[in-house]
Subunit: 346 residues, 4 copies
C-alpha cells in the first residue's frame, strides 16, 4: 500500500482547485477506505471551485474536494463488518451522527451534526477516500461507472419526486440541470400522467425531452402559462417539482399549480424574494415539501429499485468524461450549461 | 324513440338469464338515459347467472342484469347539466346517496345506501339504461369500446394497486382473474421494482406474463415460497395485492410478506377461515387495507390518467366478443377460466 | 308566514351597512329556509363593512351580509329530505357545486364554483336565510346559541389544527384573533406537548392563556425567539399554526420551526412579501399546508366530536352580545381588538 | 465496585425463577452499566416464569430475567458519549443492530437481529445490567420510580394509540391489562370523542373507568354490541385498539367497527383462529395495523411528551410494590389479574 496519493484540493481560500499529493487517509474503526474509480461534479462543487460567498463562509482549506464518488473498498476499520473488502460501492456524502434526535427517529437527512465530504471533511477527488462504513452503498460488481457515480445525485431526484404522490398526476418540473433531468425520468417511471419541464438553456430543454418530458419549454421565451394550460385543459398541474431555485420559475410554477396541488422544493434560491403567499399557498390550499439531501437510507433503497428494475435509465446522463488531471476542463464543461453530468476518473 | 327494448334479465329466482323485451326506462330528474354500446361480464354477474346463495339472498327478480357498461347519452333528466347529450360514457355501477356521512366525507365507495346496477336496480345488459348523471363518466369519443367497457372493472385494479405505495417495491399479486391481470399492469406502470403473480389456471399464468409479471407461478404446483424468496434475495415481498379470495393464497401471500409490509385485499373468500393472526399481522407489523369498489370518484380520475398517458395498455384484456343475444355462450366462455374479459354488444 | 323581514345589508358600494326591510327568500328545491337565531362577526365581515379593496372588487350590492349563522329550519324545498323542519342548525358558509372535479373527489372546500353567503349571495344578518340543505348542519336542540353560532369559524380552527399531527408536539400559534384562540384550545385537546402563542394585543395575549396557551407573548415587545427557545431546550417548535397573516409573525414562526417541522397556514397576508425560502423551507425540509375554509364536511364532524366530548370548551369565546339592530356598535366592538367573538340576535 | 450482585434468574429449563448471585457485567465499548432502581413485571415475564411452550422454545438458561427497568448509569463503555454517568435512565428492551435494512430506514422496531433483554440476553432483575447506550433513555432526575419503570410498557400503549388518527373518533379498546389501561389514557389525551373498553376481569373493568373510559364493559356478561351501538347512535366505532389477543374480543371489535374504520392490533392470540375476512376487512374497507414493540425511538419521544405535558397521568398504574427478594409474591400478584403494574426494587 502506498502512503501518498494524487488529489484535487482547495489549497487555500480563493478561486480554483489544484492538483496535489496528499497522504492516503487511514480509516477510523467505523470507517472504510475506498479506492476511487470515478467522481462527478455537482453544482456545489462549482460553488467551491468559484469560491463564492457560501463556499468562503463554510469551507476550511486545505480540503480534498468532491462528494459524488464510487469505488472499491480496500480496507476496513476494526469495527466494520459490512461492506465487503473488494466490494464496489457508491458513497453517500452526508456523514451523520446516529445519536441526535433526528438520527434516532429515521430522519438522518436532517441530522444536526452532518458533515459533508468534499465540503466539511476530505472528499473524493483523489485516489482514495476514508468514510464511515454506513456511507458506502454496495453496488452490483457490473454496474457501469457512469451510473454508480450518479447515485448520490440521483438520490436528490428520487427524494424530490417521491415526496409527493405522482401517480396519474400532471407534473411540472422547473429547472433541467442534472437533478431536474433525472427527476423527469423518475416522474415518468412512477406513473405520472404527463411531465412538463422548463429551463432557460436550449441544450437542457432538448435534453429534457430525451429524458421523457412530454413538453419542454423555455421558461422566458416560451409562453409557458399558456402552453401548460392548453396541455392541461385549462386546469394547470397537480404537482410542481422545483429544481431551479429561480424566483421567476417558482412564481410560474405556483401560478400553474392547481388548488390542493403539491410542490416539492429542492432548488436553492439566491436569497429571500417576494412570494405571493395568499394566492400561491393559502387560498390554493397547496402543500409544500422542502427537500434536503436524500432520506438516509430509504432514498438509496428506492433509487436502487428504480435502477435495477430498469424503470429509470440513467445511461444518457453522463455526457462528458475526463481524467481527474483534467479537472479544470471538466469544471469548465460543467459550468457551460451544455452538459449532462461530467465524470472524472483517477 | 321506441318504447320497448331488448334486455337480458333474471326473470325469476333460479339459474340462468333470459332474453326479453322490456320498457325503455325514463330518466329521473337527476338521471341520464344511455344507449348501450358494449357491456362486459364480471365475476358478480357469474354469481347471479348461477344463482348462488349470495345472489339468491340479494337479487330481487325481475331484473335487467349487467353492471359493466359503456354507451352514449341520449336523454337527460330535467336537473342534469352534464354530461352532454351524445357524449360517450362509461358507467360507475354504484349508485350512491350523496347525503350519508360517508358520502359527505369523500367516502362514497362505502355509502351506506349504495345500490348496484344489475344487482339492486336494473343494469345494462340491454339497449338502454337509466342511471344518475354523476355515474356517467365522459370518455373521449374515439376511445375503443374494448377499453371503455373495462373502466369500471379497471377501477378495482387501480383502487387496489393505489392503496399502497408500490414505488420501487417488490409486489406479489395473488389471483390473475381480469382484475388481477389489470392490477399487474398498474403495478408495473407506477414504478414497482418487480411483480410476481400466482394463479391456478395455466391460461391466466401465461396471461399474467403478458401483462407484465416478472414471474408468474402456479399457486399449488410451483414451489412459490422458494421461487419468490430466491427472486427477492430471501427477503420476501414488500407488498401483497390479494385478488383471489383463496385462503391458501392469502396464507402464502402473508408468509412471503416482509415485516412492515402492506397488503391490499380485494379478493372475497368463500367465508371465514383459519388465519395466522400473530405471524401474519402482529409480529410482522403488517398493514392491511380492505378494498371495496372504487373511490368515487378519485379512482376514475386516476384510471383515466393511466389510460390516457399510455402507462397502462388495456388492449389485450378483452379476449372474446359476442352479441348480447349470445349471452349464454359469453357466460360459458367467462366461466371457463380460459378468457380475459368477455364483451357483448347489443 | 310574513312576506318581508328585517335585514342588515350593504345597500350600495361604500363603507358601512344599513338596516333595511327585504323580501323573505323562498327556498329552491334543494334548499331550506332558516329562521335566524344568532349571527356572529368574522374578519371578512369587517372587510365588507369597511369596504376595503378586496370587498369592493368582490361584493355586488345590494346584499344581505353575514355568514356565521345558526337558526331553525322552517321550510324545505321540494327535494329536501334532511334536516328536519324545526331542527336547530348551524350553517356552512360555502355553497358548493357537487359536480366539479374537486367536489367529486372529497375536496369541496376548494370547489371551483364556490359561492359564499354574505359575500356572493345573501347572508344571515336577517330574520331568515335560504341555503342549500347540505349547508345546514344539525345541532342538538339544547346546544347554547353562543356555541352553535361559532361552529363555522371554529371549523377554521379545527381544519388548521388537524392539518398536522400535533400529538406530543410543541406548537406555536401566531395570531390570537378568535380563530387563533380556538386553535389553541384544539391543539391542547388533541395532545400537544406545549402551546406557545403570540399576538400584538395585550387583551388577546391574556385571552390566549385562558384558552390554554402555556406561554403567550407579545410578538414585538417580548423576546419571542429567546423565550420559545428557552421553553424548548433550544430546539424550537415542531409545528407552526399561522393565524395572523403578518409577514413578521410568519418570519418569526419559521425561524422557530425545527428541521422537518410542519406549518399550517390560515392567515391571509396584506400581499406578497420577502420570504426566506432557503432557510425557512428548503434547508429545513419543512412541510407547509395552506388552509382554506373547512373540509366539507369532515371538519364539521370533527368539530362536533370535540365539542360533544367536552375536549374543547368554547364557552369563553363569545364575549359580547348585541341585538341585530345594534350592528354598528357590534362592528365597532369587533374592530377594537378587545373582544372575543361578537354575537348578534335578531 | 463489587464483583458480584444479586439477581433473579432462570437457572435451568422449567417453571419458576430463583434468587442467585452472579457476576456484575462489564459494559462493552458501546454499552453502559446501569445500577437498577426498579423493575416491573410484564406478561412476557409471566410466560418465562411459567415456562410455557413459547418460553421453552426461546429462552436459553441460565438467564437474568426482566426487561422493564430503570436505574442510574454508573459506568460507560469506551465509545459512549451519552447518557451521562449518574444519569437516571429507563431502558428500551430491544437491542437492535443499526445495520439491517429495517434499522437503516427508521424501522428499528422490526430489526431482523433484535435481542430482547431478559429473554435473549441478561435482563434487569438484578442489581446491575449492561446495555447498549442507545437503549438507555434519560429521565429527569425527579421522575418518580413508579413512572420511570413503566416507560417501556407505556411505549406499547403509545405505539398502539398513535398508529391511528384518534382525533374526534369513537374508540373501542378490547383488553384492559396494563397496556390496555394505559392505551385508554393515551386515547383520551389525544382527543378521542369517546373511549369504550372491554375486559373479563371486574377489577380491570373498574380500573378502565378510572383511566378514562366512558364505558367499560364485561366482554362476555355485558351485551357489548348493544351497549356500544346505543352509545354510538347505531354507527359503531371508528377505531379498534386490540390489546387482548382473544379471538372472541377480536370478532366483537371488528363487528363494531364502522366501514372504513381502522384497527391497531397489539394483542397476541393463542394461535390461528377463524376470522371473518370478508365482513371484517374487505367489504368494510377496514385498515389494520399490526403493532410490534415501540418505534425506536419515535415512541420514546412521544411517550416523554405525553408524560411531561401532563396529558397522561400514569401514577395510578403501579398498584403493588415488592422487594426483588419477594419476586414469587410479586409474580403471584401479577398473575391474579387483580393488579395494575407490579414493581420491584432491589
Amino acid at each position: 500500500m502506498p502512503k501518498a496519493m494524487k488529489a484535487v484540493i482547495k489549497a487555500q481560500p480563493g478561486p480554483g482547485l489544484e492538483a496535489s499529493e496528499v497522504a492516503i487517509p487511514s480509516p477510523a474503526p467505523d470507517e472504510v477506505l475506498v479506492k476511487v474509480r470515478a467522481v462527478s461534479i455537482c453544482g456545489t462543487d462549482l460553488h467551491i471551485y468559484k469560491w463564492d460567498p457560501w463556499a468562503a463562509g463554510r469551507v476550511k482549506p486545505p480540503l480534498v474536494a468532491g462528494h459524488e464518488v464510487c469505488g472499491d473498498v480496500v480496507e476496513r476499520g476494526s469495527a466494520v463488518t459490512t461492506p465487503e473488502i473488494g466490494g464496489f460501492v457508491s458513497l453517500e456524502s452526508h456523514v451523520i451522527c446516529n445519536t441526535c434526535s433526528y438520527c434516532r427517529t429515521g430522519q438522518g437527512h436532517i441530522c444536526e451534526n452532518t458533515k459533508l465530504i468534499g465540503v466539511d471533511r476530505d472528499g473524493g477527488y483523489a485516489e482514495y477516500i476514508a468514510i464511515p462504513a454506513q456511507n458506502a452503498w454496495p453496488n452490483p460488481p457490473d454496474l457501469p461507472l457512469e451510473i454508480a457515480v450518479l447515485q448520490e445525485n440521483f438520490g436528490n431526484a428520487v427524494h424530490t419526486a417521491f415526496a409527493v404522490d405522482l401517480r396519474a398526476k400532471k407534473v411540472l418540473v422547473t429547472g433541467c440541470g442534472p437533478a431536474g433531468l433525472m427527476t423527469i425520468a423518475v416522474a415518468r417511471a412512477i406513473g405520472s400522467r404527463a411531465v412538463y419541464a422548463t429551463d432557460i438553456s436550449p441544450y437542457r430543454i432538448d435534453f429534457a425531452k430525451r429524458m421523457g418530458a412530454d413538453l419542454a419549454m423555455h421558461a422566458v421565451d416560451d409562453p409557458v402559462l399558456e402552453l401548460v394550460r392548453e396541455a392541461t385543459d385549462g386546469e394547470g398541474v397537480d404537482v410542481l417539482l422545483e429544481m431551479s431555485g429561480a424566483p421567476a420559475a417558482i412564481d410560474q410554477g405556483f401560478t400553474l399549480l392547481k388548488p390542493s396541488g403539491e410542490a416539492a422544493l429542492l432548488g436553492v434560491t439566491p436569497g429571500s424574494f417576494e412570494f405571493d403567499w395568499n394566492n400561491h399557498v393559502v387560498f390554493k390550499a397547496a402543500k409544500l415539501h422542502g427537500i434536503s439531501g436524500r432520506k438516509l437510507w430509504q432514498t438509496w433503497y428506492q433509487a436502487r429499485g428504480l435502477i435495477r428494475s430498469g424503470a429509470v435509465d440513467l445511461s444518457p446522463m453522463v455526457t462528458h468524461r475526463f481524467k481527474l488531471d483534467e479537472f479544470d476542463l471538466a469544471f469548465e464543461t460543467m459550468a457551460s450549461g451544455e452538459s449532462g453530468k461530467v465524470m472524472m476518473t483517477p
